[in-house]
Symmetry: D2
């Protein structure tokens, strides 16, 4: 931690700051420049977490040196984490496609989607039983019934499944019916939910919040890891900006930033970011080109009559075409699919 | 709902769109202009909620006419809602100040803060027992013990209290120890939590999410109201923008916008928005000048040693001075305090 | 400047960094912590301006200690700058209101607006002759003819005038017809224009760009000051955020931040920020309450038929009412008007 | 234009609105729904440009039907515009790479960069002589001397060149020394400059402003086209968001949106967006994968000692590697390079 002093800081103030830092068990290093004196607090910076040093009299600003996340950092673990989901490896050389409907509506529609995405080459099946909807009057998902259909589809196709957990009270039932527990963008800072999934032994797919910085995203992953569960898949899904031409702005620069900062696998959800099926294809290609380890794509057998996010869902025939195109991009960047 | 057609829409496409709308029980009104044909869907627009009309062939764009929120809208109820919290009326001519520490740390510190804010003129006491913290390694609040101290402070001072609920599993214990249930900014779209507090008979203080539009903010209030609880206090607390000079950007234009759109009371939390105690005073004055019904201000007897948000907490003596200044502004805008 | 090294930085890399800094004439101070070594570059930090130290091998990050602006900083000049515009003092205890139409349309309309705002208590007259319009097909202003009307209105009313300069080629003609040269938000980083007005001896009213940080805003003021013209009035006029309920988000926290960082006067333009006349009043009151030195408000005798920004213009009768309300707020914060 | 009326609009108000629209030469179409009456204004919507219909009594909101840009729209011209720059075709099947130093520093450095990027396969040379710098104390470019070096490099290599115009007073000298006139992000709404380049017969490379919506971006292109110059190359270069991990957030979804809205070619500048050389490669690949017609990449023979943007400049050897990787992506999306 570096503490920059005001030019008019008094000796008394400087001494108070130094004592404060020493009282927290850190060593102090003072450096007097022409225009500013700076104090370095040397040692375990985490003891300063939440300490309002910036309000100590004489302080101009406080600059942390170390990153606030540990377990998920590239510094903590140099090699990439590869997560095994029922034999499907996420984070390695092979790019994985997770596909399926936004929400589970009927067993028939789910099975149709599952069979078609499997045939096209997707390795994991997605489907929402509990749906976070902006309006209380919109379809909220089938709940437990939906989870059962999903588990049935898993048996039918042999594909591991991903579904969202919204409420800690649903943990048991969701745990029993999924291979990967998804935490949605709106719950990225639902810290109690993060703590709960951190205690589980199944992989967590953590979506970036709409206005979460990459640092905050990694801190949420740290919440999960701090409880012991290190099987975390990060998912960029668009951030909120001033631009309204598409639903959210897909932040593809987040992928190389995350790859530098963390050892965890990083996937991209272009469907929720753009909100329009016809832009899912170009953004999917870009996501693989930029270095993502996988994609999460919404596929629905009958988007026009979908109960949720029909506008962004690909029809199975379009998905087949896209998968072929994605394979070419994967090869162009030296990966398999 | 207005559906604008592409210039090249075929008759067949137009007929398909018309049939789709009629099948949903709405009347259709077609208007052909020189450059575009538009279709009006007349009737209860809410049946179109989630219908992906924009992907029907021939459609250029879809524009809703009605607002998605009902119960909380000014159209539903013209007169202002005034919420009575243990005799303190929020939303009327009198401006109410909610004050207290960010988190409850010890019984002594809480009682000190409670007594001093009461003496200075605050009418409600705030204090957090469950704290949403960005870092898993930071102080997470005293939990149930904190709630008990808060309830004791209520008995001691006679002030009604406000505290945050983060997890539906804590509903009972929080309900028993508070007059107002706070939903924090990070949980503004925790729809399960909103549904739960919507079933309660105690007022809810709902904070705006960091990247929530005003429309989304009102939709979250609608979630609560849809369950039957209409006692909702809205709280603007700063939004996330590109500016980093302060923690968040306090959006004071949200106050007149909300006053126009909804009948619910609107308060402002300047402490969390700016994150610096020395800017709390000017922004508090501005919030009252712009038309807020109240303020939520963090006060701590010893900010330098606070376990949470010390940098933005006012010392009791500063709070006394601020209260005097706020009274003058309240009078200048024709209100009491 | 603080340079934080990567944990794996080699001795050779460290020596290269040290030599680089020394070669720029700065002293070097090395501090080895448990987890990171940091290098302090001591001396005139401005020689490092634009030096890409962050790409030197072994560097993790570079953190500047000093602020990049000098002449406009509070550190350079402690006392507030008060700018005299034809006897009207901006930046002192008295709050000044600049009012008038968005664009000059006819001599008659301008004179009507000028006389009415003067009568209501405004001290400066605004009016645009060169208008930056998003559409090439919209009214672009009367140009020189408009400037002449403005100068006539100045003679008629005795009020000093403010008008915008968009193009360095118009400098002479604008200079001859105005007391204050306005640089619009879209030109805040038109560095050639800033350099030109920096050579003039008339005050400059510099508007904050839609996505300019406060630091960038002050750097643009520094451009003007660096040429010798220190008579700069800063104007907050709303920033671009994700919120679309109003045109821009008025950032009132910018006022206390600017007051801390700079000695220059700070005014607020609520009209352009909200884009709606009925929200101008509450935001004007808030701007004075938060500490602004003045306001810039659009007033038009016939907003319904205005050629530019009619939606945000106050009718003269509404402006009279607002001025009375603003006086009360000014008094409540210990200022005159 | 659709005008939605308030539920309480009186007959008198409705008549006033209808008369207003008719007086502007448009036909009126009234449609009464259960909850709202809406008025359609049928005819040339552009006469309503700037008309503040939203303040007419009884109006709730005004919704435009048509797009505000014409000449640059895909509706105006269905087939892609292909721009020929000295034999290099931009906007066709072949992807073009524009490369070179951020600023021209010495003739030697420029020639080194020019020769190496040509050898690696770039077809156009970039180099700045007039540099927009945030700080008045930073290197501002060599000006005319730099332009001459650029023209010499053009003769030496045979590559057409691109350079930025910042000031209408430099038009002649820039025009004489470049093949493509660049308008920088900070000047995207410098409407006088846009008007000037609109009168020229050389292609314009227009960069998106940091906080410009795609609609505004296209309106700026319309400014150029409205003067007669239809040779416009659009360039996405990152937008300003809350994320600070990289300099700006590259908005790759803008590419398919632009491709749908306009017939103009679209290129991407990853260097300015990320501000870090090591992220230029992944984002370049993503830009081609998403459908861009070309890239603009900064290459410097000695980034460590560059006077401008050294941190984001690729060394020639890295550029050679990147070009090979980009060719593979181009082929994977069915294009040549």
């Amino acid at each position: 931690m570096i503490i920059v002093l005001r030019p008019d800081a008094t000796e008394e103030q400087v001494n108070h700051i130094i004592e404060k830092i020493k009282s927290l068990g850190l060593a102090v290093h003072v450096s007097k420049g022409k225009e500013r004196t700076i104090i370095g607090a040397i040692g375990d910076e985490s003891v300063l977490e939440g300490q309002p040093l910036e309000i100590l009299p004489g302080v101009e600003k406080v600059m942390p040196i170390l990153k606030p996340y540990k377990l998920v950092s590239r510094e903590f673990q140099k090699e990439d984490t590869i997560i095994d989901v029922g034999g499907v490896k996420i984070g390695g050389k092979e790019i994985q496609i997770i596909a399926g409907p936004c929400s589970i509506e009927t067993k028939g529609l789910l099975f149709d989607a599952a069979n078609s995405v499997k045939k096209a080459g997707a390795r994991l099946l997605r489907g929402g039983a509990f749906k976070p909807r902006t309006s209380p009057y919109a379809f909220q998902g089938l709940g437990e019934e939906g989870l059962k259909y999903l588990w049935d589809a898993r048996k039918e196709t042999g594909m591991p499944v991903v579904t969202e957990l919204m409420d800690p009270r649903d943990m048991d039932i969701v745990y029993q019916h999924t291979d990967v527990i998804q935490i949605g963008a709106r719950n990225m800072q639902n810290f109690r939910l993060l703590t709960e999934v951190g205690k589980m032994d199944k992989p967590v797919l953590l979506k970036r919040g709409l206005s979460a910085t990459i640092k905050e995203f990694l801190m949420s992953a740290e919440y999960v890891a701090a409880q012991g569960n290190h099987k975390i898949i990060l998912c960029e899904r668009g951030i909120r900006t001033f631009e309204t031409a598409v639903r959210n702005t897909l932040d593809l620069s987040a992928v190389p930033v995350l790859k530098e900062e963390t050892h965890l696998p990083v996937i991209v959800d272009p469907s929720h970011a753009v909100g329009r099926w016809d832009f899912v294809a170009p953004l999917s290609k870009a996501a693989i080109a930029v270095g993502a380890d996988g994609l999460m794509i919404e596929v629905h057998a009958d988007p026009e009559n979908a109960l949720c996010d029909g506008a962004q869902s690909l029809r199975p025939d379009k998905f087949v075409v896209l998968m072929k195109e994605l394979k070419k991009i994967a090869e162009a960047v030296g990966r398999t699919m």
